[in-house]
Amino acid sequence: MKRLLPLALATALMSVAASMAQAADTLYFGLSAEPSTLDSVIQPGTAGRTVKLAIHRGLVNYGVDGKISPELAERYEISPDATQITFHLRDATFHDGSPVTSADVKASLERILDPAGKASFRNELSIISKIDTPDAKTVVLTLSKPSVSLVDYLALPESVIVPAAWIKQNAGNPNASPIGAGPFKFVSWTRGREILVQKYAGFYKKGKPYLDEVHYVFYPDENTRVNALKSGDVDIIEYVPAKDVASLKKDPEIKVLQMQGPFMGLQFNTKFEPFSKPEVRQAIAYAVDRSVIINTAFNGLGTPIWGVAIPEGYMGYDPAKANFYKHDVEKAKELMKKAGYPDGFEARLLATSQYSFHQNTAVALQSELAKIGIKVKLDLPDWATRMGKAAAADYDFTVLGSLGEITDADWLSNYYYGGDKLVRTNNSPYFNDAKINELLDKGRATVDKAEREKIYAQFVDRALELAPLDYFMWRDQSYAERKNVTGFTNMPGFLTFQSGYSIEDTKIK
């Protein structure tokens, strides 16, 4: 006992010291992964984006209401023919104190457009043919083709503005400390543990941010992440596993921010013979009982999709077409017969063992497809291998769990467009339909809203007819936070992965 006393005293003292250090408003944010990089032009996944959105801002970003929010540009004008966009910059400063000028914008965009660079959205932005900077506060972008969706791509966390001087200094240095114009400045990255950011007092939104420090702590294991929230180690977590939502909701100390944004579906390799036939792809859409996937892989948290995965309120959504398919095994068998596979066939389904909901969706699909004679062999490598196989179209079909990158209807291009690059992460490999390509091109270039609606209605008809992708459900993408946290928003629909933006509004009591 005598020996225990000093130990207890020391422990008590240290806890007091620790709690004093936390007197400032400090938030601990449990991320689902350690970001692979903080390079602003690379799409690093949700965890990396969450950190990037604390450090950086773009000309525009998606705001918490889901609309484009003017950020470093206080306003912008799109020319009537949609070939020119003029941005007027506000008086903002970077974390090193230097003002945000048109030269910084130009340098940042040029870095994205560099063909030898690593920018994830170079293709989408390469429509920019000229960047003019008439004065320090004005940027004029000239486009090679009309595009209504470019502003949306500029709102992505990969299109943020960094200082021209920083780019010059850090070209080719992947671990340079990032500098941006966002609400928080980067302080440190402790390997394998956390990234620390600190309030930037010179942020252009007066009074924001409210927090002094945010620790982004890495919890790759979902069970630990949940436990860390329960025990108060962290104040917010992302990627709440569906199986834990119910128990977290019961906890009086915790709030769950639910949102359905991402969809689950299937991509088909159309070089694999049975999947080259639209009837087979439609047969699968009829054969799968959506509730089996929702109840087993997602603990009942999800909404079935019986058409194309366009969220309600988005362009192209039509309640009449939202229930194009239904669960009808007989009809599915008929379609299989029509396609020439009355007895089914064998196929390889690619998913990943790293995310349980991907694996569980695959297992549920395997059992559902057995009912129409499709014998599914599961290929469940780790995520990296899965992505490698997807990039090489090394699969017959694969579980798709994703969403539209932007809220403009042009998000569909990533999934349906053919063109030169027929194997992409999110499309059905080698699917290339002239009519779909034409409609998507036209939709992107059309300014008139009513006209656009018509184009995308035609697109949906064609997409349902050919069914290059099948969709099964909207999945729940939840955040959970402790009761004393306010202001963090799980952003609506496709933007849930960009919810990190709302850290500027977040407070802790």
Binding site: P241, K243, D289, N295, V363, L380
Partner: protein, 272 residues
């Protein structure tokens, strides 16, 4: 003391027999299809329909246990066979081969022994998609040096015996000496080593499956069931208990039998 009289030995023998029996006829007695999904009975406790409850897909846990024994036993048996053949050969060379070769072999064995098996397995299995065959080969290779050590020391003892010297004196060829004089006389320690290896292989296979690197879902295996159940401790606490119990009892029974066998076959090897 006769081995059957030792406490626990009989019970252990019964468990081992039962496990082998279940591995053989499990599919015949399983009440349900282990892959059959029931979306209306997810994560349920014990009931009349599902004696041990259901998993996250509403699949019958009892049936999955009965099927899940098979990959485990298959991997354990195959890998032990590989380890026994490879290890015995190496061990005999290490004791009876040319001095330079023997020394080299034993040095290699030492190096391999100096590394935790789970790490080697993790590396080998982590990078390739694994099935029963690849798991058996990897685990078999990992246990070769353990066998080689036992075979070598046993051979060293045997070759000093008169009958071996006699064979030599009669001018017998090396292979003949190995086959006629050495192998039959080092069999006892090898059998004991084999029981230990089977238990170790079961542990290793289930450990890898627990880490998600073993048998591919949806086919069941005990280790994988434990690994999955770990995520559902809140929702369905008994889910983790059943496969854990099966695995622990099996390994325990094999270890107890192995100890008894060692005392019975080769009192010289008795520890303590």
């Amino acid at each position: 003391m006769r081995m059957s009289r030792r406490p626990g030995v009989l019970a252990s023998a019964a468990i081992v027999v039962l496990v082998i029996l279940v591995a053989l006829i499990g599919p015949l007695i399983a009440p349900h299809n282990p892959l059959l999904i029931n979306q209306n009975a997810v994560n349920q406790g014990s009931s009349a329909t599902y004696l041990l409850g259901t998993d996250e897909f509403g699949r019958d846990i009892l049936s999955r246990l009965l099927y899940g024994i098979r990959p485990t036993i298959a991997v354990a048996a195959l890998s032990t066979l590989i380890a026994a053949i490879g290890g015995t050969a190496l061990g005999i060379v290490g004791a009876y081969g040319r001095p330079a070769i023997a020394a080299f072999v034993m040095r290699v064995v030492d190096i391999m022994l100096s590394f935790p098996p789970i790490l080697l397995a993790l590396l080998a299995v982590g990078f390739w998609q694994s099935g029963i065959a690849s798991l058996s080969v990897v685990i078999g290779l990992i246990f070769i040096p353990h066998f080689a050590r036992v075979a070598q020391s046993a051979t060293l003892q045997v070759i000093r015996q008169e009958y071996v010297e006699a064979e030599h004196a009669m001018g017998a060829r090396a292979m003949r000496v190995v086959g006629r004089a050495i192998l039959p006389n080092i069999l006892s320690p090898l059998v004991v080593q084999a029981t230990l290896t089977i238990a170790a292989a079961i542990l290793l296979e289930s450990g890898l499956s627990f880490l998600g690197l073993g048998i591919i879902p949806p086919d069941p295996s005990w280790g994988q069931m434990i690994g999955t159940a770990r995520g559902y401790l809140n929702q369905n606490p008994m889910y983790v208990v059943w496969p854990s119990l099966c695995l622990a009892l099996t390994v325990l029974a094999i270890n107890i039998l192995g100890d008894a066998l060692r005392d019975h076959l080769d009192p010289r090897l008795r520890q303590e």
